[in-house]
């Protein structure tokens, strides 16, 4: 079996976890694993997954107390928080890991099911949640106010187990911060939530310098109650870090932290080009699989195994590598290989020796160079999606989303969710959905639209679409740009305003539940921006006009007008003028006399 599809990989990885959690008698267990997968173009996808289970009471062990307390204070029953940077290149890398569940839109995305009696109580608890998470993760989550919050109707379903009575009282709230730069200050609190805190186990690989240097990276936290068949429930937190690393770039860092261009001899050039020669080069990529190792990619090896992670069963493993069968793998001592399939080779780290003596053996994986390059087959995502701004000028614009179903035989049904800020006012009557240039009434299944209120809430647009196999759907609509108040502009107003990514939730045809999710990129909308010294200029200008009018009327009314030759004594100005004139005439006379005396 040379080709291995994504769902199968996911299943293979998830199966041991389910077994482990079912077996665990105590509700405070923890497990972690790392998946490394080679992607085309000498990229590596590293996907870290940490699962901590805890109880609902106030005594915590592996489940972080700080987060549990926040959930309790805000009555949040299910929480999803994503920090994402960069763009997942679906054309090149295929489907996202974990069915896109762990990836958010650019910036920060948060959605939660909050238990409350009514909407206003839910809003209050949502604000509490945002403020507390903002402090915990050093992110501007406290800026998720009513204008950035929506209540999606079709796109999300709770993933945890909630009793039917509780489901009645749960409110789904969703907020995005597309502008938030995700950085090390978010990673540090993220690592602190882990029992081993990045000091042992696979989390020791996580380092801000490498993580935020990735082509795409996403950190996610999902907390939900998980129940077993026998009715026992526990609070489960799944933390994941996914990143796509460029091997060439990462390996270049081992010599110097500053990236340097390689010397010309080491470039692989396409010699077929007519201009190929000693001084010009058309770079060839994907000729060879570059050699890499964990310690070189991440700057350090895995520092032993985390002793708290569940003792691996026959099935459970710590590190899995998904690469082509031909590539060789060398691993360091203290590990045991378990081959799950020719393309998925897994390793168990023996951090904990006999008698609980912790042997902190470093673990490393080395892959030698291989030419020609090998590839594992990638499955395409259910939908290719891209979104862009159309139109010109400062007054109005448009949005076009291109949604393509790559499948050759199955129709795909999904919900397209837009959360737009209030200053972007879409016209629903301009919404057009075309398939291959023609209007097709069968594409749009359902529309949920909640118009914006100025400064109170944003627009929420959910469209359920059904795309026939192999077709491309264009979704267009137009909008007006509002003029903001002086104080509503950010300090760098001319940069533009970030528009949150659209969320595409692929629905299961039978259950109508979301099975896969995709985010488009965020957009940068430029609004009419005033000159910010304007208010003061206006004050000065109007004051000047008023003062001029007032001054002239006042002067006409109170001044006495006389002839120029009738001024008595004159003011200071005329006195000075008289002196100057007298002086000038005196000089002229003296100058005129001079030549005569000579």
């Amino acid at each position: 079996m040379r080709l291995l599809s994504w769902p199968l990989v996911t299943q293979l990885l998830l199966a041991p976890l389910v077994v482990a959690s079912a077996r665990a008698s105590e509700y405070n267990d923890y497990s972690e694993n790392l998946l490394l997968k080679s992607l085309p173009g000498n990229s590596i996808l590293a996907s870290f997954r940490f699962v901590s289970n805890g109880t609902f009471d106030s005594h915590h062990s592996v489940f972080p107390r700080s987060l549990a307390q926040i959930l309790q204070q805000s009555q949040t029953k299910e929480l999803h928080l994503k920090f994402t940077l960069g763009r997942w290149d679906a054309e090149q890398w295929g489907r996202q890991v974990w069915d896109g569940r762990t990836a958010g839109g650019t910036g920060v995305e948060l959605w939660a099911w909050v238990e409350a009696a009514d909407d206003s109580e839910a809003d209050a608890r949502w604000t509490t949640l945002n403020n507390a998470l903002s402090g915990l993760f050093c992110a501007s989550l406290n800026f998720i106010d009513s204008t950035r919050t929506i209540r999606p109707v079709m796109s999300f379903q709770p993933a945890g187990h909630h009793s039917p009575e509780r489901l009645e009282r749960l409110h789904l709230l969703h907020g995005t911060l597309p502008r938030e730069p995700v950085c090390t200050e978010n990673l540090t609190p993220f690592l602190k939530l882990l029992p081993c805190k990045g000091k042992a186990g696979i989390s020791s690989l996580l380092d801000g310098h490498r993580l935020f240097d990735a082509q795409w990276q996403s950190m996610s936290i999902d907390v939900m109650p998980v129940c077993e068949e026998n009715g026992k429930c526990q609070l489960q937190m799944e933390q994941t870090v996914d990143m796509v690393l460029d091997v060439e770039r990462s390996m270049g860092k081992k010599d110097s932290l500053v990236p340097k261009p390689p010397p010309i001899e080491q470039l692989s050039c396409d010699q077929d080009k007519p201009y190929a020669g000693g001084d010009s080069c058309f770079p060839l990529s994907g000729v060879t699989d570059l050699s890499w190792s964990l310690s070189e990619m991440f700057g350090r090896p895995i520092r032993g195994s985390c002793p708290l992670a569940v003792v691996p069963t026959e099935e459970a493993t710590h590190v899995c590598v998904n690469i082509a069968e031909q590539r060789a793998i060398f691993v360091s001592q203290g590990s045991e290989e378990r081959k799950k399939s020719p393309e998925l080779r897994c390793f168990v780290l023996h951090g904990r020796g006999p008698n609980f003596v912790i042997e902190n053996l470093d673990f490393d994986i080395v892959l030698p160079e291989l030419s020609p390059s090998t590839n594992i087959l990638l499955t395409p995502p259910p939908v290719y999606a891209s979104r862009s701004l159309t139109g010109h000028g400062q007054e109005r614009g448009g949005i076009q989303a291109v949604l393509n179903n790559p499948s050759s035989n199955s129709t795909v049904e999904f919900v397209y969710l837009e959360s737009l800020p209030w200053f972007m006012k879409p016209y629903l009557h301009t919404l057009s959905v075309t398939v291959s240039g023609k209007d097709d009434g069968n594409v749009v299944q359902d529309i949920y639209y909640r118009p914006a209120l100025d400064r109170k809430r944003g627009t929420q647009l959910e469209v359920r679409l059904r795309v026939p196999p192999g077709e491309t759907v264009l979704l267009n609509y137009e909008f007006d740009k509002a003029v903001l108040r002086y104080t509503e502009y950010p300090p760098d107003a001319n940069r533009g305003f970030d528009i949150a990514p659209a969320i595409i939730s692929i629905l299961d045809p039978t259950s109508q539940k979301s099975t896969f999710s995709i985010r488009t990129t965020s957009l940068l909308l430029s609004l009419p921006t005033p000159d910010f010294s304007m208010p003061y200029n206006v004050i000065i200008l109007t004051s000047t006009v008023m003062a001029l009018a007032f001054g002239s009327i006042f002067n006409i009314l109170v001044r006495r007008f006389v002839g120029a030759d009738e001024v008595i004594g004159g003011g200071l100005v005329s006195k000075i003028r008289g002196h100057i004139i007298a002086f000038v005439t005196e000089r002229r006379r003296a100058g005129g006399n001079k030549p005569k005396t000579e």
Partner: protein, 573 residues
């Protein structure tokens, strides 16, 4: 007026224009001659002068009657009226003289003449007391059935009974009740017995009295009650003791966590490695600590949670020193922490200790050092624990070598929790002295009432100073409401204290403190502070300058003309 002026003005303008035209036609050389040949202007008619005065006057009338009020109304900042005098008098401690009359029931069924004894003891107590706000009152209880009449709480019950023959006077406090059992020697002498009773009572309540007097004295410059000249021997003795202990009390007071009606207790197990991974904290807390928390329930409530943090490293500034054992003990040794290390022991950058509860958190930490730093000892502490003022307590636990390193049992946690219980009482400010817990808790109630009274008063004082110092901040009416609620609560608390109903006083004090804080931290008040005055100048000046200048100049000219006219008329006379 302007209509009448109209043609007149037009004529002047026309003539001026003609004059200018004539001037421009003349060759430049003749300019000098023009300026020299000056005509005198036509005489100003009295009617014109009068009109001009009226114009200027009417402008000023409009500015003053319409402009200024309009400007005032549109830019005024709402400042709700505050009872400033009352606030100041509370802040200065003049409004209320807090009193703590402690009622002590005396049961003396076997004594022949209890009234007389009571009188002498009361006299001795009053003589010895130099802090009159806190005093003991004795009451003979005939039968204990109507002890709680009038809601006044009884601080303690003194039970006098005959001791064994030949033994001296002695007293015993039971740790779980308010009863003081005093055994007098059968061959007693009334004077010695009364002196003994007085000194016993003084001893029991001395610490509380010192604490309260310290609290009230430190808050406001209350004129200290003048010590009675030539007081008895006992009085002098007490005074000497209180002076000696001032530093000690200040140290004790500085530890106390600010009062709140709820506290959050966090028990954290920090281990430097990955083990132990579980502990029986829930069982241990409910067994060893819950009784104390229940007893404290009348003063403050508590919520409890716990956590385990693995791989918790000490901050880099804390480096334990290796101390080898002395020769006779052979190899091995211990790591010790210096006193300076303790202040930076808590690695707040790494350890997640913050709670998001709305009320204060008290942290209790058990730290288990790494195997290569074990055993870790604080040489100056016999219990290997220390208290962090106003924050919590830390205990360093070195698990015995031959034990299960992955699990901490309830029994293993008992010493730690006993230490934490003591630390909790110290952090809450309970006096350490009398052995009876109920009496200590009563003391704590009185102390906390005093503290609340003082802190609410000082908050009012700060608000008073703030409103005076920043005239540009707005004072919303909610602040005024909160202030009046604070004042009424403070008055009520003061009265309750006088009547000896300390539970009620605590309740009122709590309310006063809450309302005072609410008034002081009013959001809309804070926002206004950052609006700078210069901004206003920049906004007003472009209009006020060009408009105001001609108005003022015209007014000045007019006034100087009037003065000249007045002088001329005076001279003419």
């Amino acid at each position: 007026m302007s209509e009448r002026l109209g043609p007149d003005v037009a004529a002047t303008i026309a003539s001026a224009a003609l004059a200018v035209a004539a001037e421009s036609k003349t060759p430049p050389e003749s300019a000098v001659s023009v300026s020299q040949k000056r005509k005198s202007p036509p005489p100003d008619t009295p009617e014109n002068t009068r009109n001009r005065s009226l114009v200027i006057l009417s402008f000023w009338v409009v500015v003053i009657t319409v402009g200024l009020p309009l400007w005032w109304v549109t830019t005024a900042i709402y400042r709700a009226p505050l009872p400033l005098n009352e606030m100041q008098s509370w802040a200065d401690g003049r409004a209320c003289r807090a009193e703590f009359p402690l009622l002590i029931d005396v049961e003396a069924p076997t004594l022949p003449d209890p009234e007389n004894l009571l009188k002498t003891v009361q006299h001795a107590l009053d003589d010895a007391n130099d802090f009159s706000a806190h005093h003991l009152r004795l009451r003979l209880s005939a039968n204990s059935s109507h002890v709680h009449d009038g809601g006044e709480s009884v601080a303690a019950t003194l039970r006098l009974s005959q001791g064994a023959a030949g033994s001296p006077h002695s007293y015993v406090l039971s740790p779980s009740s308010r009863i003081i059992d005093l055994f007098y020697s059968p061959s007693y002498n009334p004077t010695s017995l009364s002196a003994f009773v007085a000194s016993a009572l003084q001893e029991i309540f001395a610490e509380e009295q010192q604490m309260i007097s310290y609290l009230l004295a430190s808050s406001a410059p209350v004129p200290s009650p003048s010590p009675s000249p030539g007081g008895g021997n006992g009085g002098n003795g007490v005074k000497v003791v209180s002076k000696v202990n001032t530093a000690e009390i200040a140290r004790k007071m500085s530890r106390i966590v600010k009062y709140s009606s709820m506290y959050h207790l966090t028990f954290s197990l920090f281990t430097a490695a990955g083990a132990p991974s579980s502990w029986e904290i829930e069982e241990a807390v409910s067994e060893y600590l819950q009784p104390l928390l229940d007893a404290l329930g009348g003063i403050s409530g508590f919520t409890v949670d716990s956590q385990i943090q693995f791989y918790a490293s000490l901050s880099s500034s804390v480096v334990p020193t290796w101390e080898p054992h002395s020769e006779e003990e052979g190899a091995g040794g211990r790591y010790t922490l210096k006193k300076e290390d303790l202040s930076s022991f808590i690695n707040s950058a790494e350890w997640p200790l913050v709670s998001i509860t709305g009320y204060p958190t008290i942290n209790f930490i058990i730290y288990i050092p790494a195997a290569d730093q074990s055993p870790l000892i604080i040489p100056t502490s016999s219990t290997n624990a220390f208290l962090l003022p106003q924050w919590g307590g830390v205990m360093i636990h070195n698990p015995p070598a031959e034990s299960d390193v992955t699990h901490l049992t309830k029994e293993a946690l008992k010493p730690a929790l006993d230490i934490f219980a003591t630390q909790l009482l110290a952090l809450l400010g309970a006096p350490t002295h009398p052995a009876s817990l109920p009496i200590r808790l009563d003391s704590l109630t009185r102390q906390r009432s005093a503290e609340l009274l003082v802190s609410a008063s000082s908050t009012l004082g700060s608000l008073y100073r703030l409103t005076l110092a920043l005239p540009s901040i707005s004072i919303p009416s909610s602040v005024s409401t909160s202030v009046s609620s604070t004042l009424s609560s403070l008055t009520a608390a003061c009265q309750e204290l006088r009547r000896g109903r300390f539970g009620g006083a605590l309740e009122e004090g709590r309310n006063a403190e809450e309302q005072a804080e609410k008034a002081f931290f009013e959001k809309s008040m804070v926002g206004q502070v950052y609006f700078p005055e210069e901004h206003k100048v920049a906004v007003y000046l472009p209009l006020m300058g060009p408009v105001g200048a001609p108005l003022v100049m015209a007014a000045l000219k007019e006034i100087s003309r009037l003065v000249r006219v007045w002088k001329a008329s005076k001279l003419g006379k």
